[in-house]
Homo-oligomer: 423 residues x 2
């Protein structure tokens, strides 16, 4: 089964709002194995919408439309679909009653134009809207199935999940499953080179790489008769990816972020962490604190942007700052050492670098960042060179710091385990 | 002039990422008066991309394509456009040198497939990419103008602003100018109600409101023969908006962010600032430090996520924490007081709140945040109630903290000035 997504709205066309409905609907299709090859955005314009309906009907089995079901004159999705199919709009009594009830319970006066929302093309099914006034519309025809959805995401999402997907899945006879392997510390080109033979050889499952800030995600997608068979196809590929990338893989779970992977390592082993940030200026702490439940591990952070604060809070010696400069391996090292003395946490993490746009020199260019990690006294410092604007350099530095913490923690655990085994 | 936007990428088609490039490009077109009637999303698939190029060339003068310029085999936008136009791909020596330089400065090994990025269709102009490896491509033909842009927004946006729009605008015969008034502390509905008469009455310039995190932007757009005439139409509307919103306006300059407005107030008056964050966990410092040149004003930040760190670093008394709880007006007040004693900065700013998803109670629900600002001993505490998920609550709290700092600074200056005048 193939689907096409058409999002209708002048706001989308003017770029006033971001098309989150398109991504959501695409994701739902991917999740349930409905192939989707095109997404379109068009304004509230009958002629152009009619043209798109014609094209979409030629290339897909299911046309998912969002937006343009409201009460105002601008809204014309339903009218256009009815016209395209040569169908009349008829009053759906149940929808009208729901709309009247909606206004009554909110003690609002229902204006005449709201009644328009209870009209649906003949032969269609109205999909009740629990979060707004406009019902959705589900219409099977010989050419294709048309699904018309309200534009506001808080109305569209529950309707798709509870009413649309079950209807569409009942029509499908194939399952598509995918699994993502997330790696860190290896660029996209290198990662792809490392698995080029696999990518070239595979057709089912397929393997694709995606570049993220400081990360690469590899998605393995299989088609089969049912979910169980699809997962069986994926399994050996994931195993091979693990062989090739080893520790660079931080998760094989789509929902796990890099900061969550670090947080989980800390929480599972009852370790505490603190951060001292210069160039990243709070971004590293902010990402860690984005993980719910982190308070058991994350204790305190310092944004030591000035040299004075590095001296005062982290006890970095003036002589070291003067000799090597604030952006140096030595200062990064002193930062994590001082932070551990000061906070008595198990793990300390520090960044110092030149985020630009100014402040670079030939010896220390913009983008140079030192990252230090201290796990119970064992310190590793990494020198990084990032490109891009101030924000990109800082975001890359945060990702590199999280990755360094993860690798240092893994090494610490392997030594701890090894030590135990030797006894 | 009409444009069509084609965003290429399997990630978009699978709904793995939200199409922010589409919204950005649409917004740029709207801003500069280029009519855009269609946006399309298509995967990394030659056949389908060729089909779309044909359709788009029939209905638009300018085809803006984003994505698929990377080094991997998936990336085929450039190849498809060249094939569609019957043009060869040729090596652009300057682009190759830039790519080699990119890898050299980062001390990375350049793999063979990266060279592919230096190929451009014959007759095209390579657009240097200051934030990545793949250059953009600008190609004028008899049928249409094709603009190929890299997918990552941090590469695409600066390229569009500095290289693409100036080229496209030079082809147009009408000037469209817009100016943005940015306000804080007033919701979008209220802001719109306050200027509904203006919005309804105006056709040129037009007035539109846009909701941002903790802010509302009002854009005034005028069309005229030339820029000077367009600006003349805009001027009285901006004056009227200033009358109505007063101090809630933090800037009328599109490029100024809220954090930049705060930074400018500090820097112009040689004041220093420090932050203590609980629920925002570094996000407030991170935003301030995003402003280049902030080091003259921003001195130090504390992420006092645990109660222990609030006591130790900010000297918040245990009795106050126990009596009122960490999320309270009293603790917020103690935080900015302690921070000023500790850091000797002129302005101190603190946040403490419940970001969720857990930790809320009927008395102190998720979304409750206290923000305190201390300007040379004068303290203001604001109680806020935010809705949404953990990230949204934290982002709103950061915006509210910046806004509180701005208002406290303005008040401080007005008193300082008033005091001087009285003498």
């Amino acid at each position: 089964m193939t689907a096409e997504i058409i999002c209708v709205g002048t706001e989308l066309l003017l770029g006033n709002i971001i098309n989150t409905n398109g991504a959501y609907l695409a994701n739902q299709c991917a999740k349930y194995g409905i192939a989707c090859y095109y997404q379109d955005v068009v304004g509230d314009n009958e002629e152009r919408l009619l043209g798109l309906l014609k094209t979409a009907t030629q290339r897909a089995d299911v046309i998912l439309l969002s937006g343009g079901l409201g009460p105002t004159e601008d809204d014309m999705t339903k009218e256009s679909v009815a016209k395209f199919l040569g169908k009349e709009l008829v009053l759906d009594q149940e929808s009208l009653e729901r709309i009247e009830e909606y206004f009554k319970t909110r003690k609002l006066v229902m204006t005449e134009n709201n009644k328009k929302q209870a009209l649906i093309p003949e032969g269609a099914v109205a999909l009740p809207n629990d979060n707004g006034t406009a019902p959705g519309i589900y219409l099977e025809t010989e050419g294709a199935t048309y699904v018309l959805l309200p534009g506001p995401p808080q109305e569209l999402i529950p309707m798709v999940e509870s009413q649309v997907m079950p209807r569409l899945l009942a029509k499908s006879d194939q399952a598509i499953c995918s699994q993502t392997v997330k790696i860190c510390g290896i660029g996209e080109s290198k990662a792809e080179t490392m698995i080029k033979d696999l990518i070239d050889a595979q057709t089912n499952p397929t393997i694709a790489t995606y570049a993220k800030v400081g990360e690469v995600h590899i998605r393995v997608t299989a088609k089969a008769e049912d979910e169980k068979e699809a997962l069986k196809l994926i399994k050996p590929v994931i195993k091979e990816l693990k062989n090739r990338f080893g520790n660079a893989i931080y998760t094989t779970d789509e929902s796990i972020t890099l900061e969550k992977a670090v947080a989980d390592l800390l929480l599972a082993n009852h370790l505490t962490i603190s951060c001292a940030e210069s160039c990243t200026g709070g971004k590293l702490s902010a990402r860690l604190i984005g993980v719910p439940g982190i308070s058991e591990a994350y204790k305190v952070g310092y944004v030591t942007y000035s040299n004075k604060s590095k001296r005062k809070l982290l006890d970095v010696k003036k002589s070291i700052l003067q000799k090597y400069g604030a952006v140096s391996e030595n200062v990064a090292k002193e930062m994590v050492k001082g932070l551990m003395r000061e906070t008595e946490t198990d793990v300390t993490l520090a960044t110092t670098g030149i985020a630009g746009p100014d402040g670079g020199t030939p010896e220390k260019p913009v983008g140079l960042v030192y990252i230090a990690c201290n796990v119970k006294g064992k310190i590793v410092v990494k020198e990084c060179h990032f490109k891009g604007d101030r924000e990109k350099i800082r975001d890359n530095a945060v990702a590199a710091a999280l990755e360094l913490a993860r690798l240092c923690l893994l090494e610490y655990f392997s030594e701890v385990t090894f030590g135990k085994e030797k006894k």
